[in-house]
């Protein structure tokens, strides 16, 4: 399940709902990762652009990988502005046993950072400044 929201995530609502959705499915492990905006470098927050068609394809590929391990993956992400101490990202894995979930969340979040078509901007003096120095080129570069 991929959920995209305008602005910050309602973390308690999302986690509670996901927990309740999966609580009857006999999973022994539920491992969420929550990304929160830190107060650093004088920013007022972060802002995000998302290209949804490719993000959806990328995510569905991970849904298949999860299914192969009898696990379930869920993700939520913000579009637009997210202010300090608010959250913009949740990924969560449910699996029968902890080891699969611990390894899967690590692989998933790392690939998310390297491949998901989302662009991050610092909010500085009300302007969006592309965070090029923290961004990663998608591996397949044609030019």
């Amino acid at each position: 399940m991929l959920e995209l929201y305008n602005g910050s995530l309602n973390v308690p609502e999302i986690l509670k709902r996901w927990y309740e959705e999966e609580s009857v499915n006999n999973y022994g492990a539920f491992i969420p990762f929550i990304g929160t905006i830190r107060d650093e470098n004088g920013i007022q927050g972060l802002s995000f652009d998302i290209y949804e068609p490719i993000l959806e394809k990328w995510f569905q590929n991970w849904v298949k990988k999860a299914k192969d391990k009898n696990a379930t993956i869920k993700m939520a992400h913000s579009r637009g502005d997210v202010l300090l101490h608010e959250s913009s990202y949740i990924a969560a894995v449910f699996s029968p046993k902890r080891r699969v979930a611990l390894e899967f969340i690590d692989e998933f979040v790392e690939d998310f950072k390297a491949s998901a078509p989302i662009w991050k901007y610092d909010l500085i003096d009300g302007k969006r400044v592309y965070a090029l120095d923290r961004s990663t080129a998608i591996r397949e570069v044609a030019f």
């Binding site: 990304g35 995000f48 652009d49 998302i50 290209y51 068609p53 490719i54 394809k57 992400h77 913009s88 990202y89 979040v109 998310f112 950072k113 390297a114 491949s115 998901a116 078509p117 989302i118 662009w119 991050k120 901007y121 592309y130 965070a131 090029l132 923290r134 961004s135 990663t136 080129a137 998608i138 591996r139 397949e140 570069v141 044609a142 030019f143």
Partner: protein, 73 residues
């Protein structure tokens, strides 16, 4: 015609071009000063699938997307 879209922070209007493959697009973009910096680090998708070869053929109606470096989360 081929439609070319620039995603995220690339501040370029979309293009409509009569080209047959990505090599021809590369030549056009290299002549655009604002695009030079993006050519080195952007991935390219054709109809929302990322491709890795400049020889990738293009047909009428295809949409090419330029994806600069990403940072979700």
């Amino acid at each position: 015609m081929i439609r070319v879209e620039f995603l995220g922070p690339i501040q370029q209007d979309n293009l409509e071009l009569d080209i047959n493959n990505l090599s021809e697009l590369a030549i056009i973009l290299q002549e655009t000063p604002e695009m030079k910096e993006w050519l080195e680090n952007s991935a390219v998708a054709v109809n929302d699938t990322i491709v890795s070869s400049l020889e990738h053929p293009l047909k009428d109606g295809d949409v090419v997307s330029m994806l600069p470096p990403v940072c979700g989360g």
